[in-house]
């Protein structure tokens, strides 16, 4: 199971620069709007591009999609 993170924790983590936020939505969606500090890595490209975008495998990574899941 992937642990879930509350909005408050996300804001705190982003302010402190402790986490890498990953937007897994499409590039068009990312271009229109995204959470500040997020980097774009669409689901379809995960396997291909994860290694170059997220170089540190032990770093704290937080993902988000479009809406409540």
């Amino acid at each position: 199971m992937i642990p879930e993170l509350s909005r408050e924790d996300l804001v705190r983590g982003l302010r402190a620069g402790r986490i890498t936020l990953v937007d897994v939505l499409s590039p068009e969606s990312f271009a229109a709007m995204h959470i500040p500090g997020a980097i774009s890595l669409p689901v379809v490209d995960l396997a291909r591009r994860a290694a170059e975008v997220l170089s540190d495998r032990a770093a704290a990574v937080v993902t988000y999609c479009g809406g409540p899941t």
């Binding site: 992937i2 709007m33 995204h34 689901v43 396997a47 495998r57 704290a60 993902t63 988000y64 479009g66």
Partner: protein, 341 residues
């Protein structure tokens, strides 16, 4: 995002509210500082020189108009605050106002007899404990905007009475409108549900049509060394319809507020998988002899592959339907294959 785990990332968490929740709470959509993305543990970042990072990960600044659209005025925030309370909570708030103001009148009448509440005979209402009930009665009559006038306020009590009257009226209006709108919301929800199910049904029917068409084309293609050009044309149009259906499925599944039932979703995914399998076979058959492919077909195939991978990706649908993983894996695999052909 279990895929990230599979790729060897050990410290992954998920923000379940996603972008929608973020926008609902009017949080900024601009980077907090500078133009650089926030990268975790810069000291432990083993990516080497900074310029080797791909340019695609630079954050994008949301347009100003968009931000303005999500910033709300105080009045709409006030209305939202009232709207999100339940009928019971609003009624309690109203009662609290009545009781609170009643106590305030009582204390005023006690402290300044003759300058707070005056009865019809011109005499001030009783002070002390005997004044409690008249004060509460006056408060309730004011808050409901009945205003018999058998007890009238005087002095500072007038200000409070006017304020209480306004607040009581607004709250009472909210309670009444909530009662009325509850039934309507139920009806609207039902209509949405029916429309949604109707759309799901149409997707299933269309998938069946695409499948029939593909089978008919496959019969054209079988047993010949060179497939007739009309077969290619039919594959092309079938691919277009199929892309349209994939778009519809994608759209339906990415609206998490009303998710289809698992049985319906399974039927749709099974349909998608079988259409995909036949499409792959047919494409291989058509492709066996001719090397050049019409550009429209190439475009359709790549869109198809992208959409199918998104539908069955790690994002929304997988999480609400873990039982359907086998279908999703199948579709994912075939989506990968279709581009290889």
């Amino acid at each position: 995002m279990s895929l990230l785990r599979e790729l060897g990332y050990t410290n992954v968490s998920h923000y379940p509210g996603g972008l929608m929740e973020w926008l609902e709470f009017n949080l900024p959509t601009e980077p907090p500082s500078g133009g650089r993305p926030v990268l975790a543990h810069p000291s432990r970042d083993r990516s080497g020189p900074a310029e080797s990072r791909p340019p695609a990960v630079q954050p994008h600044v949301a347009p100003r108009a968009l931000q303005r659209a999500f910033r709300t005025s105080w009045s709409s925030r006030f209305i939202d605050a009232l709207a999100e309370r339940s009928v019971g909570a609003l009624f309690w708030l109203w009662l609290e106002i009545v009781l609170g103001c009643g106590v305030a009148y009582w204390l005023m009448a006690w402290a300044f007899p003759g300058f707070a509440l005056i009865g019809t005979n011109g005499a001030p209402v009783a002070s002390g404990l005997r004044g409690v009930l008249p004060a509460l009665y006056f408060s309730a009559v004011t808050a409901t905007s009945i205003g018999y006038g058998d007890i009238v306020p005087a002095g500072a009590a007038r200000v409070l009475a006017v304020c209480e009257g306004i607040a009581g009226l607004i709250l009472f209006g909210c309670v009444v409108s909530k009662f009325v709108s509850r039934r309507q919301e139920e009806l609207i929800g039902q209509i949405h549900r029916i429309a949604f199910e109707d759309r799901l049904g149409r997707v299933r029917t269309n998938l069946l049509l695409v499948r029939t068409e593909l089978q008919a084309t496959a019969r054209l293609c079988e047993g010949r060394d060179i497939p007739p050009p009309e077969a290619v044309a039919r594959v092309e149009s079938a691919a277009m319809v199929f892309v349209g259906e994939l778009h519809a499925v994608h759209d339906l599944l990415y609206r998490p507020q009303d998710t289809p039932e698992e049985a319906v979703l399974e039927a749709i995914l099974a349909g998608l998988a079988s259409v995909f399998r036949e499409f792959n076979e047919l494409l291989a058959c058509v492709q066996a002899q001719r090397t050049e492919r019409p550009p429209a077909l190439t475009a359709s195939v790549s869109t198809m592959s992208r959409l199918a991978r998104e539908i069955c990706g790690d994002c929304v649908p997988r999480e609400f339907a873990p039982a359907l993983r086998t279908w999703m894996d199948q579709i994912q695999r075939m989506a990968g294959e279709v581009e290889q052909i």
